[in-house]
């Protein structure tokens, strides 16, 4: 198993063995290239044009969203008299109730959404892998204890859990910041609360997946051999088991990002997430939905943030699907 997330494919013909052509196999790759599972996965991934396209789109969108504030003539929070302008030459996505440029707001909202998605997924990765690996590796009583906890958390409606967690943390942080440093709660603290809250509810499935994998790996011969050679538990877990879980975890992680982004936008839609005047894609959509009325349709307030969010989620899902298919040994190249 390769330790590298994206091992480069060996360039064909770079170092062909002399007897490569003598083999009757139709496989034209040089025989020297003993391909690691990671390289094989990369080969399979490259053949998936949809996933590759999604990856390119994601990189492009990310670059655009990051660069836009530097080249945009409008600030996302700058008010103006041009209220409810439909999309036109001046404002490509139109303007909102307060005359703010929607394009700038959508891009800054996407920045927040993607950041929360990435960090939230990272938190869920951290908790889920530790929890699942511990359960699978320790086995027995510890396994039942850890996994029954996951079962119980599964049967709580996650929205209640998130709300309680966010408000509790908010209360604690407010007090602590005031007493320790003497500053008021800022926007960045809001972000931190979202990271924690979203990470805390999205690790459950990850823990189940990792536990299943570790459980089956633990019984394999190479782990046995390592144990026989006197390796410590930490070494077995870190050096032998976790690297082998890597592929599945990576694939599942990329599918967690859209889930977290979706959940973040849902929380912001509820008003629990990003607070105005800052925006995330969810709060922009909530604003647009709040302005629907039968007399005048401000369609752009829904369509543009909604379409951008959908496009991001679609690309993330396609990319994650592609990674999962590439890493799944059952899927044929």
């Amino acid at each position: 198993m390769s330790e590298h997330p994206h091992p480069l494919p060996a360039t064909p013909g770079a170092s062909p063995e002399p007897d490569a052509a003598a083999q009757p196999s139709l496989d034209l790759r040089p025989a020297s290239a003993v391909r690691s599972p990671g390289q094989k996965a990369w080969d399979r991934f490259q053949k998936n044009r949809l996933a590759l396209g999604a990856g390119v789109f994601l990189i492009g969108a990310l670059a655009l969203v990051l660069v836009w504030p530097a080249i945009s003539p409008y600030q996302p929070e700058a008010l103006s008299d041009a209220q409810f302008q439909p999309p036109g030459a001046n404002h490509w996505f139109g303007t909102d109730l307060h005359g703010r440029d929607l394009l700038a707001r959508v891009f800054s909202g996407a920045r927040v959404s993607l950041l929360v998605g990435a960090v939230g997924a990272g938190v869920s990765l951290f908790i889920g892998v530790l929890w699942g690996a511990a359960a699978g590796y320790l086995g027995g009583r510890w396994d039942s204890l850890l996994m029954r906890t996951v079962d119980v958390l599964y049967s709580l409606p996650s929205i209640i859990f998130v709300i309680v967690l966010i408000t509790t943390l908010e209360g604690l942080l407010k007090n602590w910041l005031k007493q320790a440093i003497g500053i008021e709660l800022g926007d960045s603290v809001r972000l931190f609360l979202l990271f924690a809250g979203l990470g805390a509810v999205s690790w459950l499935t990850m823990a189940r997946i990792v536990r299943g994998q570790v459980l089956s790996l633990r019984a394999r011969a190479f782990v046995e051999a390592s144990r026989g050679l006197g390796a410590s538990h930490a070494r077995i877990l870190l050096r032998h088991i976790l690297p082998n879980v890597f592929g599945v975890v990576l694939a599942y992680l990329t599918l967690t990002v859209p889930t977290v982004v979706l959940y973040e936008s849902f929380l912001s839609y509820l008003g629990l997430g990003i607070q105005p005047p800052q925006a995330s894609l969810g709060s922009l959509i909530a604003e647009g939905a709040g302005l629907i009325n039968p007399i005048r349709i401000y369609w752009w307030l829904i369509v543009f943030p909604g379409a951008f969010l959908t496009a991001l989620l679609l690309a993330l899902n396609l990319f994650g699907d592609g990674l999962r298919d590439a890493w799944d040994p059952r899927s044929k190249p």
Partner: protein
């Protein structure tokens, strides 16, 4: 025997979940009386807290909520708690103080169940055929088209679909009412909004299940016997291929039947999904615990039902 044991085990599990929920909402700062009109004086607030027994030790409050235990009057005589979960009473709502939690659930639940069942039917009715069809047409254009539609469905959030459907079908074309919950026509847009994500999810699970099953050896046998392709897919492959959908459908149904905040909010539907969010925002303690218990009980029952269906569909599965 296996299932009897599972049913018996539900009670302690629900007890644990209710305890967890009870403790969890109490941890959150703030209380039920500091959101709406502030009580006129600290005394009134103290009286309110006393009236709802919020001044008692937490464990006693929890036991009172369950209905197990007793008060002592001045003379030292014991009086058993009047209500409690064991008598089907989840206590008064601290936000809507003229109503009990059971009342509010009784009013909203039928609406949420109707809407949830419609969305469930939509999700399965669209998802299963699309998923099976795309698997049968593997790597041909119906597959690409259908699979893309399914990913798209799981990528559009309900709060985008809802307003879009309202703008197009209710405001622009006036085919359906904008909101409210009155006639069958009122249910169409909410059911689609709620169900479309899950239809995509079901289609993806069905496709994967069918693709896996069609490669099995008993399918080759069936084909070799000369069974028609329709019979192979529907009679031989389907019962096994639908298993992933079945195990997803259990938790899904529990989720759908307990309402959805977004859909109920967009379409002004008087279900209980709105209470799920608002009760925890308002620290309406009995309401939160009541709803958590309802959801958890549904989830446990659904998972049991899933396993029952499973053992019917897959002859290899046996519960001892």
């Amino acid at each position: 025997m296996h299932f009897v044991k599972r049913v018996i085990f539900m009670a302690p599990l629900l007890l644990g979940i209710s305890f967890l929920a009870f403790g969890l909402v109490r941890v959150a700062p703030g209380g039920p009386f500091d959101r709406d009109r502030k009580p006129a004086s600290p005394e009134i607030e103290r009286n309110l807290r006393a009236k709802y027994h919020l001044d008692e030790p937490l464990l006693k409050q929890y036991l009172r909520f369950l209905g197990i235990g007793f008060d002592r009057d001045a003379g030292g005589r014991r009086h058993w708690f009047a209500g409690g979960v064991i008598r089907g009473d989840f206590g008064p709502s601290l936000k809507y103080r003229n109503h009990s939690v059971a009342d509010i659930i009784r009013q909203g639940l039928p609406v949420s169940i109707t809407l949830g069942a419609l969305a469930f039917a939509f999700a399965l009715g669209v998802g299963i055929p699309v998923g099976a069809w795309t698997a049968v047409k593997h790597r041909r254009w119906p597959d690409h088209l259908g699979s893309l539609a399914a990913v798209l469905a799981v990528s559009i959030p309900g709060f985008v679909v809802g307003p879009l459907l309202v703008m197009v079908f209710a405001i622009h074309w006036r085919w359906f009412p904008v909101a409210l919950w009155e006639s069958p026509a009122h249910a169409v847009l909410p059911a689609v909004t709620l169900g479309i994500y899950f239809a995509g999810k079901v289609a993806r699970l069905m496709r994967e299940g069918m693709l896996g099953t069609l490669q099995a050896e008993f399918i080759t046998t069936a084909r070799a016997k000369g069974a028609s392709e329709t019979a192979v897919v529907l009679r031989h492959a389907f019962p096994l291929a639908v298993l992933p959908v079945v195990s997803y459908a259990g938790p899904l149904l529990a989720d759908l039947l307990t309402g959805s905040f977004v859909v109920e909010n967009i379409f002004q539907i008087p279900g209980i999904g709105v209470f799920m969010v608002n009760s925890s925002l308002n620290r309406d303690y009995p309401m939160v615990v009541g709803l958590v218990l309802l959801y958890a009980a549904l989830l446990l029952v659904m998972n049991l039902a899933v396993d029952l269906v499973y053992s019917r569909l897959d002859p290899r599965v046996r519960y001892e």
